[in-house]
Chain length 329, copies 2
């Protein structure tokens, strides 16, 4: 096994919590998410503070789902898209549990879950891993002020107002975290910040191939292989790169799962909270229910900043992979 | 032991590399750093790209110091202060080793080293952990354009142009990584972005106390207890909080170590690269040389962003702690 992949013998996912904003509540997964916000400010003064509130709710929800009190959580691992991870860190100021901030753009959730697994393996810890994003906080930071009302291009994704968190601990449960592969940064030279799918598909394929080799698997062993938020455009590119009928059959994408096509989201959902909410609110429950036995999640992140973009840099990307499997209990 | 502290039985620090910019080269540690830049742009087109170059040099240097080729590194764990960690991620695009990005502001280095230890413990991995900052890239992002030439206040720290990285692997060496405590976010209500020492001192004290309890230690067992970059102001506050002569005797601060008082840096050095360079270029070599046997490093980070500051938020802080000890070999 590659030393860039960690295999976990004994790490269970024992709690999960998914939150959606107003638009996400109207999507196909809205009815099964744990909590839907009725308005996207949620009583806060700023969009950024609302994102932080969502982070606290997700961490608390996952802990409670595991039967823990918030104070029982030894380590929170979390990430978001805002500069200096302010929603993760301001949430940590409130929940007061020791916190590790991670950043891999929209791949942060898989990094957080993998590190939570690493923390728990062989120990006695209780960890919560999560990620969150707020459409209105993220868009005004990365692209244009919302009030500007700019025309979105056909390849643009919709940054989700969503959060998801998993509670992870050593032991056996209905869902096991089985492996974690750390991604390499891959840059296909894409320069369009309105087309993340094209920028991220090669990184997804690089990490998925490396993970498959590391676990000595084949695509047919998986019930589903989810990418984070390649959307319609990036998923088509990924399947072209894979050029494998079995892969195309099992592949699905969290960004495509979060909204209906008629919700005007163009390429699909994106944002750190998108893959987090789909994993916590859809994938883990489906494994718990016995519908799926073995699922890969390759969370994908575009690693540009407004500064790097304005300096003429292309958009590098990364994908971190986690493998989930039905447990025996 | 608290489950927010991980104890490592068998993780060695086998390589280290410290880089300083022009001003850092003129400081007291300049002569012992591995590499000093002659100009702060280092042939790059932007300050941000220069910071990325420093990251690549630090990762390569630590790997080579361990006797590894760059391609032997299984995982790089790194962090910086720039939005979306662009220097860490653009460096990863170049060095092509699997990379985990972390963010805890100037506490990122200790988080990176702790996670590298976690990755290595019980495995066969080769990890490099590092952090880097560039004065001119960071200052224009967080405060004012450099060209504005604003007057720095007496409590302001000087963001270092510096980088440091450690190579970590399972086994025994001259320096062992012994423990890692994850910090809580502590907010004393400070609102002055020109006074990081006041904002961060309570977080440092919180994490140091929690670490000491977790390892069942006392301050007298340590040759040095370094904080990251509390500087003159924050160190005085910390020693007031500790109210313990033994602590005050063993306490030192990386931010105070990097420059001479006559270098006009006011409170001392700061920035993700400051503690990283001081640990990699000064602390680890002193342990290797047998001068010190047991050293704590509490890297401290102020978790504000320009957005949170402009929205009227106070400045929360965190400190992550790593414990280094002389090995037997």
């Amino acid at each position: 096994m590659s030393a860039s992949t960690r295999h976990f013998e004994h790490v269970a996912v024992v709690g999960h919590f998914a939150i959606g904003g107003v638009r996400e509540g109207q999507g196909p997964l809205g009815p099964i998410f744990d909590h839907i916000w009725r308005d996207d400010l949620a009583g806060e003064r700023t969009w950024e503070a609302a994102e932080g509130k969502m982070a606290v709710q997700a961490v608390e929800g996952a802990a409670h789902g595991a039967g823990w009190q918030l104070g029982d959580v030894d380590v929170v691992v979390g990430g978001d898209l805002l500069d200096q991870l302010v929603s993760t860190n301001f949430a940590a100021r409130q929940h007061q549990q020791p916190t590790l901030g991670v950043f891999a753009a929209c791949a942060s959730f898989a990094e957080a879950v993998g590190l939570a697994g690493l923390w728990c393996e062989g120990g006695s810890a209780r960890a919560v891993a999560g990620a969150w994003s707020h459409h209105l906080a993220v868009e005004r930071q990365f692209r244009f002020p919302i009030e500007f009302g700019y025309q979105r291009t056909p390849t643009a994704s919709w940054t989700a107002t969503a959060a998801g968190a998993l509670a992870v601990t050593p032991g056996s449960g209905r869902v096991q975290l089985r492996a974690f592969t750390v991604g390499r940064v891959v840059d296909p030279g894409s320069t369009d910040p309105m087309d993340m799918g094209t920028a991220m598909a090669p990184a997804a394929w690089d990490s998925l191939q490396r993970h498959l080799r590391a676990v000595d698997g084949d695509w047919g062993q998986y019930d589903r292989v989810f990418t984070g938020d390649l959307g319609v455009v990036g998923s088509a590119i990924l399947c072209d790169l894979a050029h494998d009928d079995t892969f195309s059959r099992v592949h699905d994408d969290c960004g495509r799962s979060l909204y209906r096509p008629d919700q005007d989201v163009h390429n699909g959902g994106s944002g750190t909270g998108c893959v987090a909410a789909v994993v916590a609110g859809h994938i883990v429950p489906r494994i718990e229910a016995g519908d799926w036995r073995r699922v890969l999640v390759a969370a994908t992140g575009a690693l540009f900043s407004p500064t790097s973009y304005q300096q003429g840099e292309s958009i590098p990307a990364v994908a971190h992979v986690i493998e989930l499997q039905a447990g025996r209990s």
